[in-house]
Amino acid sequence: MRKYLAFAAFTGLAFGSTWAQVDSLATEEEEDYSLYDNVSFADAGTKAYCTNKIEGLSPSKLISVGYDYQLGYNLTSINTPGGQVQDVYEQADFARSNGMRLALNVPVISRNDLIVQLGANYWNQGYSLENEGIDNPIAAGLAANGLRTTGMNLTVFKPFDETRFFLFQGSGDLNGDYSFSDIMPLKYTKYSAAALYGKRVSDRKMWGWGLARTYRVGELNYIPILLYNSTNLANTWGTEVLFPARAHVRRTFNPRSMLFMGYELEGNSYRMYRSSVPQNDLEIRRGELRFRFVYERSLKDFIWLSAQVGYRYNYSFDADVLPEGQEFFRGFFGDQPLAMEQSLTNPLYFNISLNLVSP
């Protein structure tokens, strides 16, 4: 009797499980997909919102560990008639300029009606000087201390409905020749922000326009910005544009292998905090255009390689005196004199990074 009971209990449980499975599989085979053409949200108050992506966009990077390398170039410093620095400095020859670039981005709020992402970044730029005992305190300071950026950033994506959205990006960066054992006070933090109104007109196109407070040209500036992301029907070509910060044409070989052609405008204002320069409050207004090819591909699953090669074109390496870090606005048309004009020759550069990309 006990054998019957055990058999019955086992058979019953097994049948129960199998019936559920068979029933489900049978349902799958007989599925009438046209049923799902006509649906409504179960919650009558549900509103649909557009997302922050379109099809075919390159994946967002959660973690990035990179290395940037510029070939040799020269630095010429020229005193300016109205400026505060009147010395004539020797031309500096840099054999290379290179350093690590680290970035972290973590989504902290992900809802259909709001996406908030926090990030942190650290860039280090070393300068390898060829002239020994050079009479150029700025070049000597760069060679001795390098430049670095440590910053945090915030991105907010707020959709209003299925097409319209608002995008905000803000960042605070501490830029200069400081070290972590001799770090600059936070009062020298440079704040940048961009606000943009846009439309996601289809699954393959979104655009927007807005205004940015930026240091990408080296010094503080307020400039209009334009977003234009698009992908063709076959997902083989596209654009990823946030003008004037960056603009790229994308060639997609497959979703795990892409080539970009375009440029990035990169820069910030760097305080000479440790270096012995003629003015203690000197800030280098570094802005450069990087015309480049970028190849990105998945090495394994979510680990992506990004390799860049390009031409670094100097837009600005001039210097201003900012007592106590008090910023001023010159814009494109202001006539405030520079403390020092500096020009750089333009080398090739390479950049390679390993990235953990976002789902």
């Binding site: 559920a20 949200f41 989504p107 953990l356």
Partner: protein, 154 residues
């Protein structure tokens, strides 16, 4: 004969009991049709055995504009699966109900890039799911909000 009848009764009652247990759990609240935030697909969650699976039952663009044929899983890294139709594809797999409105232990597949992610489902309310796809640890992920759909029967 009497013993055989008793055994049959036990088989039926065991089966009914098992079925009752499976259908009556809190976990079954996940069953139904859901729409991801991008609105490009509708996903029907079913239960197979004790686990929950979600298959694509509707696509906003069912036809591949390149081939003019129904879309297939062309971005799958496994070439053998690249001709599998997307409609009917199980993009949610192997979820079990962990209690406290959470389904865990499963994966989510993104047909747009052919990647499979670890996934946790949290039911915010009966009609809203927080679907968190992540890589290794939950911090490295993204949450998408899915809404329950009602199928309009004709």
């Amino acid at each position: 004969m009497k013993n055989v009848l008793i055994a049959l009764c036990l088989v039926l009652s065991g089966s009914l009991f098992s079925s009752f247990i499976q259908q009556g759990t809190d976990g079954d609240r996940l069953l139904g049709v859901w729409e991801p935030s991008n609105g490009r697909a509708r996903v029907k969650v079913e239960k197979i055995g004790s686990k929950y699976f979600g298959k694509i039952v509707w696509l906003k663009e069912p036809i591949d504009p390149e081939t003019n044929l129904p879309k297939v899983d062309k971005n799958n890294p496994d070439p053998a699966l690249q001709s599998v139709p997307l409609k009917g594809y199980r993009m949610l797999k192997d979820f079990t109900y962990a209690g406290n409105n959470q389904w865990t232990g499963g994966t989510i597949y993104d047909p747009l890039n052919g990647s499979t992610y670890n996934c946790t489902i949290n039911m915010r309310d009966n009609n809203t799911l927080d679907i968190r796809g992540y890589i290794g640890v939950s911090a490295f992920g993204r949450t998408d909000v899915w809404k329950r759909l009602q199928v309009q029967r004709n």
